[in-house]
Symmetry: C2
Subunit: 341 residues, 2 copies
């Protein structure tokens, strides 16, 4: 093929009419390079057909200009948006992103973090599937690169930056809204306790009841995985119980899919037969009939912020810090006046 391996950095320097050190600075993304110099060198690289070997220069420089991103479920549109935000920001700073996926498995969290360490990525953005797994904690302790956690609380990992969602505010608004409409038999279908979002939603759900001198409906809590299947099963189970809920909160967009499947199977109409709130805006929440009330947050911004917190440690040598992305309740027709059955 057309690859000319023979051209050297010297050829590039000669062709561009610049010093060899300038070519080197451009290739190593040195901060003190003008855009004009960069253009000139890149043009010469194309003209002479020089092929830089970033692998070799990574080894010399001790930096790979790659960031590892571990998602707990990449097929979840929420993570796709977070990955988009992070990738876009990292690319601006001339880092590439290595995407790995633990598919909800704590064991894979551990394996993937180890692999990313061995690959000498310059930093990690992690949304692990299990915050409490001993093996994962051991792997995390071995890291000597900056880490940013996305909506996770990992005990003992004090030097990580963290981007969290303010789940409390959104969940509190949702429960208050439903109670105001006359609902007290409110079900919460959520993910596992070893993940911060699920823990936070559960904690605030209970507290919102207590703050109104009401007993939280413990019999209507369903804690499982974040999958559609889990949402469907939990809903069928709730609807078959002695005292079924008059309102439901689905703690994630995949859970929502399952909840809606179950309601359809039982021929219940959202907004008329049962009130429904979901977490995270997806096309389905907006375009469902009736549209579904959601606790919304900006997922692309979460990814962008995670990349920023990482870059400020890599480039700016800043201290780790926490950033919080707000959530807000968007009220729609799926939560109307309660009708007792």
């Amino acid at each position: 093929m057309a690859r000319r391996r023979d051209a050297t950095m010297e050829d590039v320097a000669n062709h561009a009419g610049v010093a060899l050190s300038s070519v080197s600075r451009v290739l190593n993304d040195h901060p003190d390079v003008s855009d004009r110099m960069k253009q000139r060198v890149m043009g010469a690289i194309a003209d002479v057909g020089y092929e830089p070997n970033l692998l070799a220069s990574s080894l010399r420089r001790g930096s790979t200009k790659t960031i590892g991103f571990l998602a707990s479920d990449i097929s979840n549109p929420l993570f796709a948006e977070i990955a988009l935000g992070a990738e876009r920001r990292l690319d601006e700073a001339e880092y590439t992103m290595v995407l790995t996926n633990s598919e909800g498995s704590g064991e894979r969290d551990e394996e993937m973090i180890r692999l990313l360490r061995w690959r000498r990525t310059d930093g990690l953005i992690l949304s692990v599937s299990d915050e409490r797994r001993a093996g994962t904690l051991v792997e995390l302790a071995r890291l000597d690169v900056p880490v940013v956690l996305i909506d996770r609380d990992v005990k003992g990992l004090d030097d990580a930056s963290v981007v969290t969602s303010d789940h409390a505010r959104g969940m509190r608004s949702a429960v208050d809204h439903l109670i105001e409409l006359g609902h007290t038999d409110i079900a919460l279908i959520s993910g596992p306790r070893q993940l911060r979002p699920a823990r936070e939603r559960l904690r605030v759900f209970r507290r919102a009841f207590r703050d109104q001198q009401l007993e939280p409906p413990e019999h209507l809590l369903r804690i499982g995985s974040f999958s559609a299947q889990s949402g469907e099963q939990a809903t069928l189970d709730l609807l078959a119980s002695d005292r079924p809920p008059t309102a439901m909160i689905a703690g994630g967009n995949l859970l929502l899919t399952g909840v809606l499947r179950a309601l359809r199977r039982r021929k219940l109409t959202v907004g008329r037969d049962i009130a429904l709130v979901s977490c995270d805006e997806v096309p389905l929440t907006e375009l469902h009939s009736p549209p579904i009330t959601v606790i919304a947050r900006d997922a692309v911004h979460m990814g962008d912020l995670a990349a920023e917190l990482l870059l400020e440690r890599l480039v700016g040598d800043a201290e780790p810090r926490r950033a919080v992305v707000p959530t807000s309740l968007i009220v729609r027709d799926s939560t109307k006046k309660a009708r007792r059955r």
Copy 2:
């Protein structure tokens, strides 16, 4: 931190009671290593705290065990599913995936392919944003690693494997179905001509009419980008025309979101006021009221197959080949008997 850089491969071999060459074979993913040997060596690596440097061994070996994946839009759930399928399969074969995103820009296609080449990835899975851009073709010609294209036809790139969707079959079934229901004023809203899926859908759309001795409704074709915004604008435009369509086909899940927004704005009910078919199954198509007829395909399988075609060239030294993923029409209540307005 707890990282012990001092441990060497010799320490691992001594601790495991195996030869140094066995440790090396495990670390380099040599095919002739038993699971038992692998476990033993991995255990010793953990015990002595040895930290392999995959970067250095990549350079020695001339293989990075990484695959570049270029998506034209990672926030599109379709690509998230393709990425999931590919990542899962590559991980089984002990490759990691570098994810890049061109966000619909031909210029970024070119930049990303160049970057992935410079990073010495062992192979590429590409779903470029523009099949015809000269700069991209030049970059592709420079590659000397195996390439798999996902649903793209790139002229002159004869040594690439390709995974395509059989758009023809699904589109043909959709048009035949709508014509059978009495529709002839059928609109097609689709993506740009420089991408294979859009070209194929348009070609077969027209042909399906001609095969029934009907003139294709050229005035109802709207070719733009694959975005929700493009779908919304095209629909508003069609509805405002002298002879609005009685049925519509949305050529992608983001376009569908825009189409539904526009229909809602014009207070038209899907299935009653207008028939609607979409491409690619998402939760919205299944759970919309009424459920939406779709041309479906298995996107996770497309990613899996792309990884497989790449691996068979990397590991098995096979020739490039084409694989086709079927599409099928799932008929739902959004396409009922036509009602003339």
